[in-house]
């Protein structure tokens, strides 16, 4: 589904990604871990279409199409979803209104009819239950006055509403207490299917206890330096990143 080949990217002349290769197939959950500054958020931002980053070399194919050629809204139309690390507050736009607009734009992109108001309401009720979000939140301005945990749950709620093919969760666990973490993980797991895939970007192994990955990649200094199964995450938890850094400098 996703094929990243030799991706080099920089921001304001500073190189961040120095040759990333990654293949993600439907039904898979990939975790990307690594120390601060390794390029994890950069990778997420580039997948979501942030303009501040420049791709210097390499390609990203999504379901056979050139992802880098697409505007962010087209990527959403194709089924890419980024759950932001710091979701923005938008006063005056209710979550409900925002999602209805988003859903309809995506449907338009896919040549489908706009969603019926009643169906939309029913859909919202169903998905709100998934992340234990009270319906009253949905009439409030998007993320305004939400706690960190509520914002992250709102991201997963949106993911549930938009049903993406590829979900990228950018440090979704940061700032969450155990209960919020449980709810978020529950939501993500409930959405897993053989047709979609998830990339989890995270520092800590903790999230991976709840959302069990098929593959764990370690990103260090702009490159994936190690790939393994879920055991790799446990190893990192135990030993930290130093042994990886040593391995890399030795080779």
């Amino acid at each position: 589904m996703l094929n990243i080949k030799n991706l080099h990217a920089s921001i304001e002349e500073k190189p961040i990604l120095k040759g990333i290769d990654l293949i993600v197939n439907p039904g898979e959950v990939h975790a990307i871990m690594g120390p601060n500054g390794s390029g994890k958020s950069t990778l997420a931002s580039i997948l979501a279409g942030r303009e501040e980053y420049t791709v210097n070399e390499g390609s990203i194919e999504f379901n056979g199409k050139d992802l880098l050629e697409m505007a962010p809204e087209e990527r959403a139309g194709e089924g890419v979803f980024l759950a932001f690390q710091y979701p923005v507050e938008i006063p005056g736009v209710s979550t409900a209104n925002f999602l209805k607009t988003a859903l309809n734009e995506i449907r338009k992109y896919r040549g489908l009819e706009t969603i019926d108001a009643m169906d939309f309401l029913a859909l919202m009720k169903e998905k709100a239950k998934l992340v234990e979000l009270d319906m009253s939140f949905l009439q409030r301005s998007l993320n305004e006055g939400f706690s960190g945990g509520e914002k992250k749950r709102n991201e997963i709620f949106q993911m549930a509403m938009l049903e993406p093919k590829l979900a990228i969760l950018d440090e979704t666990d940061s700032g969450l207490d155990i209960d919020a973490l449980r709810i978020v993980a529950q939501g993500v797991n409930a959405l897993r299917s053989p047709d979609n895939a998830t990339i989890l970007i995270t520092h800590y192994q903790r999230l991976l206890n709840y959302i069990v990955p098929d593959f764990v990649h370690v990103l260090y200094k702009g490159k994936i330096v190690k790939t393994g199964g879920k055991e790799l995450a446990l190893e990192l938890e135990e030993k930290g990143y130093d042994w990886i850094k040593e391995e890399v400098s030795l080779s």
Partner: protein, 420 residues
């Protein structure tokens, strides 16, 4: 035909028109004319008119409105509020109808006298005096407490001309609210076929004790005429007046809107939405005058300016020496959608009492790029996102309109090129 740049000869100019001669020779007319010629009509050196040049308006030759037999069906004009009582005014002339005859608590009458009781400072704004000298019909609505507040009154100010010459119209309306009377008045402007015209309106409100008025002024689609709109409300004890002005798709508008709190516990609110595009120039000068103590006022103006439009906001608040325990709040916020859009904003508070709560704020900015990107990442293209954010921005002021039908009418329709 009439010329404004030779004001001293106004009397003679009018004499040759179809103008009530008795009125022309009255001492009030002479007084008004002499105060007008003394102050002269404003140049850009006048601080109050610095950003609103009127020279081209003053140099034109104008035709005065003649009596017309045109009939207009209110249904043809937007917004159409079905349950409202419609009052049609064409070029400032009252169109006789029996709309108000069977309705309890409201009467509509016409007067022809040259001056109203408003204190005008001609140096700051001479246009109300000009209106007083040139108007024919002063349309008066007297509202008693028996009037059913839930029926809005919709005044349609319609302008049309059969002449080649630009029209100079002087609509004049007075609203008298008796003790405990309540009403909602919509005043909308519609220009049918007038080119380069000048509309100079005088609208005055007297709110007796315990009365309440919501006045919504809709200035939408005024392309070929300049509008100089003057509105003054005098608010007495425990009375409330709320003015709402909405300017959209209009080329040249100058509003001077004032509220005078003359007795204790009076309330005056003034809200505005200005949507500017192309090369429009929209100037709002507001005055809130706290004369009596224990009064409250709230002001919120939001501007959305695109292309090469310019807006001006001068919000004056006076708190007189004896106006202790005044609560006066003012906020002006502007969204600039293009590099050439301009806002000239000047909150102006003159506070003479010492036990008051007053605040003012003015912010100007462009659309939040982070928010736009977030919307894009969820599938919403930039143009749709801009519309959503702009609607969100003005939404707060639309919510304050006390007529639900108008709220729905305005939601989504106040956006110009950003959405279109």
């Amino acid at each position: 035909m009439i010329q404004l740049h030779t004001l001293e000869t106004l009397k003679e100019q009018l004499r040759v028109q179809d103008y009530p001669l008795a009125f022309l020779d009255s001492p009030l007319f002479s007084e008004g004319l002499s105060s007008l010629t003394k102050s002269g009509l404003p140049t850009p050196r006048n601080e109050e008119w610095k950003y609103f040049p009127i020279n081209s308006l003053l140099m034109a030759d104008y035709a005065l409105p003649t009596a017309s037999s045109h009939q207009h069906d209110p249904k043809q004009f937007q917004p159409f509020i079905k349950e409202a009582l419609h009052l049609v005014i064409i070029n400032g002339n009252y169109v006789k109808s029996d709309t108000f005859e069977q309705v309890e608590g409201i009467t509509c009458s016409i007067e022809h006298s040259p001056i109203s009781n408003i204190e005008i400072n001609p140096k700051e704004n001479p246009f109300p005096i000009l209106n007083a000298l040139l108007h024919k019909d002063r349309i008066i609505l007297d509202i008693e407490k028996e009037y059913d507040f839930s029926i809005p009154i919709h005044i349609l100010q319609i302008f049309q001309s059969d002449s080649e010459m630009p029209l100079l119209a002087s609509p004049t309306v007075t609203i008298n609210l008796a003790k405990n009377a309540k009403a909602k008045i919509i005043e909308s402007y519609h220009i049918l076929n007038v080119k380069n015209g000048l509309i100079n309106t005088s609208f005055s409100v007297h709110a007796e004790q315990e009365s309440e008025l919501h006045h919504i002024i809709i200035q939408d689609g005024l392309q070929d005429c300049a509008l100089i709109y003057n509105c003054e409300s005098v608010v007495k004890c425990n009375a409330k007046v709320q003015d709402h002005v909405i300017v959209h798709d209009s080329n040249k508008v100058r509003n001077t809107i004032a509220g005078k709190l003359v007795e204790e516990h009076a309330l005056y609110n003034i809200y505005g939405i200005v949507s500017g595009d192309k090369q429009s120039l929209i100037d709002n000068h507001t005055v809130v005058d706290h004369i009596a103590p224990h009064c409250e006022s709230n002001e919120l103006f939001k501007h959305v300016l695109d292309e090469s439009s310019t807006a001006v906001f001068n919000g004056k608040i006076f708190v007189r020496l004896d106006a202790q325990k005044t609560n006066a709040y003012q906020s002006n916020r502007t969204l600039l959608l293009s590099p050439k859009a301009t806002i000239n904003t000047k909150p102006q508070l003159e506070i003479f009492a010492d036990d008051v709560k007053c605040s003012h704020g003015a912010t100007t900015g462009s659309v939040d790029e982070e928010a736009l990107y977030y919307l894009q990442a969820r599938g919403i293209p930039r143009e749709v996102g801009m519309r959503l954010l702009t609607e969100a921005f003005i939404g707060e002021v639309i919510q304050l309109i006390d007529i639900e039908e108008l709220q729905s009418y305005f939601t989504g329709s106040l956006l110009l090129s950003a959405g279109e």
